[in-house]
Structures are given as C-alpha cells and as structure tokens.
Amino acid sequence: MNNPTIRNWLGFSTLALMLASLFMVFDYVPPDAEMGIAQLIFYYHVPLAWVAFASFGLVAIAGIFYLWLGDQLWDDLGYAAAETGMVFCTLMIIAGSIWAKPIWGTWWTWDSRLTMTFILWLMYGGYLMLRASADDTPQVARFGAVIGIVAAMDVPIVIVSVRLWRTIHPAVLVTKQGTHGLEDPRMVWTLLVSLTAFTLLWAWFLMLRFTQLRTRSRMSKLAGRIALATVAASDPK
C-alpha cells in the first residue's frame, strides 16, 4: 500500500483511462435514441454510484475490523473510505440531477433510489462531521466504527421502505424482462471503460488518503514519545 511506485503507476493509468472514457463518451458511443444526448451522463453517473456505494461498504467492513482487532490501520482505512465515498456520492447526485432535468423535467424528485442515495449521503455526512469535530483518539475511532456499522445495517431497510414509498428511476442495467437496456455493443464497452477508470480513480484516492492518515497516526504517536523524551532529557535529577 505504501509503495510510491504503485501509487504513481496507478495515478497514470487512472489518468489514461479517464481520458479514454471521455473520448468514448463524446466521440465513440451513440446516444440513446429516446433520451438523446443527455443520456451520455449515464456513463459517469453509474461508475460514480458504484464507487460511492463500494466506499460506504468499506467503511462498515473497516469498522467491524477496527472493533474486532483494535488496530489503528482499520480506522484510517474507514475514514479514508468515508471521505472518498462522500466525494463520489456528491458527484453522483449532481450528475444524476443534471441528467434528470432534461429527461424528467426536474432537478430532483423523491423517487426511491434518489431518496435512498440522499439518505446515505446524509448519514456519511454525519459521520464526517463527527470526525471533523472530534480529536483523533481511539474513542472517536470507535465512534466512527459504530456509526459506519449502524449506517450500513440501515441500508437494506432504507431500500425496502423507500421502494414501497415510490419509484420512477430507470432500471437501465437489468430490466424486468431480464435483459439490459444497452442495445449497442459500443455502449457496453464505454460503460466498462468508465467503470474501470472510476474504480482505479477510487483506488488511487483511497490509497493516497489512507497513506496520509497512516502517516498522521504514526506521527502523532511519535510526537507523544518525543514530548516524553524531551521531559526526560530536561529533567536534571
């Protein structure tokens, strides 16, 4: 994880794939016949959704491991995942909103998936606010782990309840007939490339933030020891 070569390699391949996906969206893939050109937002909206939800899953997994093993490493991972997840979740909502305006005629509607995403966004926003307002102590790390686990546990109930509540979001990937809505193979390729690009981007961000948080945790430990040593050294005795 801490190997700079891997990090740089990951950063460059992310950049290359992001540019490739951009090219494919704007020059290669045909837009949807019904929705028109605005449908091309789909190719970034879906990967953003995937990395956002993967991040939030990772927060919960890291939380479980932190409470189980008590190693600071898991807390640093969970914090990094929550932060990157929040970035991607925010972008997913913005991109989806811009897509919805020309297609549905409204920026926002209380559809089940939109509602579910917004609730997730609020939950992890709360998590980050707690982390930002508190010191970095093992106690706060446990709080973060507990909230991460509780929030993830809540997700299935949220999904069931909002689905009963209302739904208009298009099910592009799997329709009721069991087929997917991407009839042109170029659409599938474009989606696969952008999915890979965003997965790499996610891994890169996660690695960078995780490494930074690891460094910070180690440094605060070190600072404590130096302070102790300074007291010991200045003590005349």
Binding site: G36, I98, F205, R209, L222, T230
Partner: protein
C-alpha cells in the same frame, strides 16, 4: 440532438473540476504533513544532540 449539450457539458465539467479540486486538497494535506514531519525531525535531532542528559527513550519504531 444538440439541445441538451449544455447539460452534458455541465455534468462532465463539474465532475472533472471536482476531481481536480480533490487532488489539490490531497496535495495540500501532503504539504502540511511534510511540514509537520520536518518539525518532528528537528525536535528529534535537538534531543539526540544532548546525550549528557541521560538516555531518552527511543522515539522510533
């Protein structure tokens, strides 16, 4: 066809600008961490230069 190009362009611009801003944020965090590390190193060096004051606990590991 071109009627909704503004929406498409806005969506992709916002995504790329946000990614760029987050990279900047990570970069600034890194600079702050580096500065903090340098102060710690200086304090450690100051400690080891005074060996007469007994053996301080090893700050590494």
């Amino acid at each position: 066809m071109g009627a909704h190009f503004g929406y498409l362009f806005a969506a992709y611009s916002i995504i790329f600008v946000a990614i760029f801003l987050y990279v900047m944020f990570i970069w600034r965090r890194q600079a702050a961490l580096d500065a903090e590390l340098r102060t710690l190193e200086a304090r450690m060096a100051a400690l080891t230069e005074r060996p007469a004051a007994g053996a301080p606990p090893r700050p590494d590991a």
